[in-house]
């Protein structure tokens, strides 16, 4: 997936000379996860460069650049480091088009690795997507595989609205089903690891059905797509796993069609439970599908604690927990 992201940046920088890429360790070194490796060499220092350690500064200058007419695609080294730049994202990036009546816009992308599973402790594991989805004016995307990562990132860069692009870091090197004690499968051995050369997009706002099923709908995104698939396989429950891909704008049609068909819904995310994106999904499903529901909607998420270090696998909503929820919903 790292290569797919790098390829998306490369393709976008080739097609549009207004695309610039910068962030901490992003230039010469190519990023701590290597997503920008080689871009400075290829496109020069003024298109891809290192910045001071200031997330506020990174997002703030990106706003000014976007107002000028560039298309910055910046990297925040970990989503956990985003908070110093959050005021710029909420008060500036998200509102610029609205408050200036379209005179100034901020067509920029803020990429950030999200989620746990790498023993990163509480400052390298968070999933802050709800903090962005809550903000009017932003689009929020979470890819789950290399093909989507490339297509969605190119679409995000080409979009005229600001996009928060959360990259599940546990998926950088292979699909992860939550079985941390088993060897990692590399993307090269996975169908969605196939990434075409050149330009293509995956449209924002469209979900994908990863596993068709009739018994229960599982709404997931990012790493949790694979966890949900594993849980379905291991419980033998005929779950339909929907990969939301874009959290805002969300693909309500796909969600509603599936829940109306299955009559059951389990929502899975790695972020904390209370006030999380799952609450919004549950409300939407309840509003739209109440009369089709045969069981209460269930949520399987991270606990409402900071992301712990040693207890990582007790915190992570793995296939066993998702499987229990599937069974409970089926038995309700």
């Amino acid at each position: 997936m790292v290569e797919a992201i790098r390829d998306a940046l490369d393709v976008s920088m080739q097609r549009d000379e207004n695309v610039v890429v910068f962030g901490e360790d992003v230039g010469y070194f190519g990023g701590v996860f290597r997503c920008t490796q080689g871009l400075q060499q290829k496109f020069g220092m003024s298109r891809c460069f290192d910045t001071p350690i200031s997330e506020l500064g990174i997002v703030g200058v990106a706003v000014g650049m976007a107002a000028y007419g560039l298309r910055p695609c910046v990297e925040i080294q970990f989503a956990d480091y985003m908070y110093p730049g959050y005021d710029q994202i909420v008060s500036e990036v998200a509102r610029l088009r609205y408050r200036s009546n379209g005179e100034f816009t901020a067509p920029l992308v803020v990429r950030m690795p999200t989620g746990g599973g790498i023993f990163g402790g509480q400052t390298h594991s968070q999933s802050p997507e709800a903090l962005f989805v809550h903000v009017a004016g932003l689009k929020t995307v979470v890819p789950s595989n290399p093909y989507d990562a490339k297509g969605l990132l190119i679409a995000a860069i080409e979009d005229n609205d600001p996009v928060i692009f959360l990259e599940p870091k546990r998926l950088y090197n292979g699909p992860f089903d939550g079985h941390h004690d088993r060897p990692v499968t590399p993307w090269s051995k996975h169908a969605q690891g196939e990434v075409p050369d050149g330009h293509y997009t995956v449209p924002l706002g469209k979900a994908a059905i990863r596993r068709a099923g009739a018994a229960v709908t599982v709404l997931a995104y990012g790493t949790m797509v694979f966890v949900a698939e594993a849980a379905a396989a291991e419980t033998g429950i005929d779950a339909e796993v929907i990969d939301l891909r874009t959290l805002l704008p969300y693909d309500l049609e796909t969600i509603v069609a599936s829940v109306e068909k299955t009559g059951r819904c389990v929502i899975v995310h790695e972020a904390t439970l209370t006030g999380g994106y799952g609450a919004e999904l549950a409300a939407l499903v309840q509003e739209r599908c109440f009369y089709s529901l045969e069981a209460p909607i269930a949520r399987v998420t991270g606990w409402d604690t900071p992301y712990p270090h040693a207890q990582e696998w007790d915190y992570f909503p793995g296939p066993a927990r998702v499987g229990r929820a599937l069974k409970a919903v089926m038995e309700a």
């Binding site: 200031s54 200058v61 000014g64 710029q88 408050r99 005179e103 009017a136 309500l252």
Partner: protein, 410 residues
């Protein structure tokens, strides 16, 4: 070693509070004409003293003196005077309109008119200001139609921002005026980004960032200085030190730093301090900094020393925290009166013509005001529709907003 004893906690406080006698003896004022004018390619470390002095051109007699004088013709100065007088008349009418309930909020410039009016003269078309709340002189001196300013304040049917923004949060790309945020300090670092973009594109345009003395305490200020310094961005970074951040005197934000300008020194950036009530000095220093930026010599930090004569906003009452007549004691005088005195001394102006101009300007402002009010005020007459509220959040309205608009029945 002796016993250090217990610690004590320090909170800075102004010398005088309401009921006291105003005292500005702490404000060290260099005589006009005294501070040298270095070449624009001077090394920052060779002019560190300029961050602690005050560049002034107009002396007490109304003469323009010293190396920063003689940058503008009498004709240009007359135009500058007119801009400041227009801003003052505009302020007076809009303050009154707010008191009459025609709008919710207003912020006036009284005492600070020279800063934005004179600065704008130093820019070229295509340059971009990233202003804060008290720089409407950039628009007035830049030729932006007053009808649009008033319509924005009234949120009426002609409001270019469709009623979405608090009064005075103007925006005009065409006039080099970036959309005002309302959050403090955020625009300062954006100005640096805009300037970086201009350099990346090998353009010739420069940016100007604006911030108040109080907001220099925001992290955005420091991020702006770091990025401007690192990338030698073609930007002029302006601090308007009007002594008061709502009720908080400038010592709270300044802390142990001798001056606000001195904050630039650690970033290796030329930092100048200027008499903000001296139209000629503001313009001359702005021009110097703009030329540095234009010649790719990098950023400049400027502190304009001025005084906020009026309340912070229409929601503020300064008699609660500072002596009522403090502004009369402000040692740098009134920018309009000082330029007027200078022009009279030059033989280009007279008391009589000034009075006449005042009346003409007021009449023209009132005429524009009537026209604006014919298109509505906040609570009466035509105004942007509730339907407009849902537009422009995104380039294309996403389905969830379309559903909400439907629900709102607009």
């Amino acid at each position: 070693m002796s016993d250090p004893g217990r610690l004590s906690f320090h909170v800075p406080a102004p010398a005088v509070r309401p009921g006291g006698t105003p005292d500005f003896s702490e404000v060290k004022i260099a005589p006009a004409g005294e501070v040298r004018r270095p070449d624009v390619d001077v090394a920052a470390e060779d002019i560190r003293d300029l961050a602690y002095s005050i560049i002034r051109v107009l002396n007490r007699e109304g003469e323009a003196v010293g190396p920063w004088a003689n940058q503008l013709s009498a004709e240009a100065l007359l135009e500058g005077l007119r801009h400041m007088m227009t801003l003052r008349a505009f302020d007076a009418r809009m303050l009154m309109a707010q008191r009459q309930g025609k709008t919710s909020f207003y912020m006036q410039h009284m005492g600070e008119e020279a800063v934005s009016c004179a600065f704008q003269r130093a820019l070229s078309p295509g340059d971009m200001n990233f202003p804060t709340h008290r720089q409407a002189g950039l628009l007035i001196a830049g030729g932006y139609p007053m009808l649009k300013m008033m319509s924005q304040i009234y949120s009426n049917e002609l409001d270019p921002l469709k009623g979405r923004q608090l009064p005075i949060m103007y925006s005009s790309r065409e006039h080099g005026f970036f959309s005002i945020s309302g959050n403090l300090g955020t625009q300062f670092v954006q100005a640096v980004g805009w300037a970086m973009a201009s350099a990346i594109k090998r353009d010739t345009k420069i940016a100007a960032g604006w911030i108040g003395d109080g907001s220099t305490a925001e992290s955005d200020f420091h991020a702006a200085l770091v990025f401007a310094s690192t990338y030698k961005a073609p930007v002029v970074l302006n601090i308007v030190n009007n002594q008061w951040a709502i009720s908080t005197f400038q010592g709270i934000a300044r802390g142990g730093s001798g001056t606000f300008a001195a904050r630039g020194l650690g970033f290796g950036m030329p930092a100048l301090r200027v008499d903000g009530n001296d139209y000629l000095a503001v313009h001359a220093v702005a021009k110097w900094a703009v030329e540095r930026a234009r010649r790719n010599l990098g950023p400049t930090l400027i502190e304009y020393v001025t005084y906020r004569v009026g309340a912070h906003s229409t929601s503020d009452d300064p008699t609660a925290y500072r002596p009522k007549m403090e502004s009369d004691s402000w040692p740098l005088g009134d920018p309009v009166l000082r330029l007027k005195q200078h022009l009279i001394r030059l033989g280009a102006w007279s008391e009589e013509r000034h009075k006449q101009a005042e009346a003409e300007i007021l009449a023209s402002v009132i005429e524009t005001q009537k026209e604006a009010e014919a298109h509505g005020t906040l609570h009466s007459g035509p105004h942007p529709s509730a339907r407009d509220m849902f537009e422009g959040v995104y380039e294309a309205m996403p389905p969830h907003l379309r559903r909400q608009r439907q629900q709102a029945g607009v």
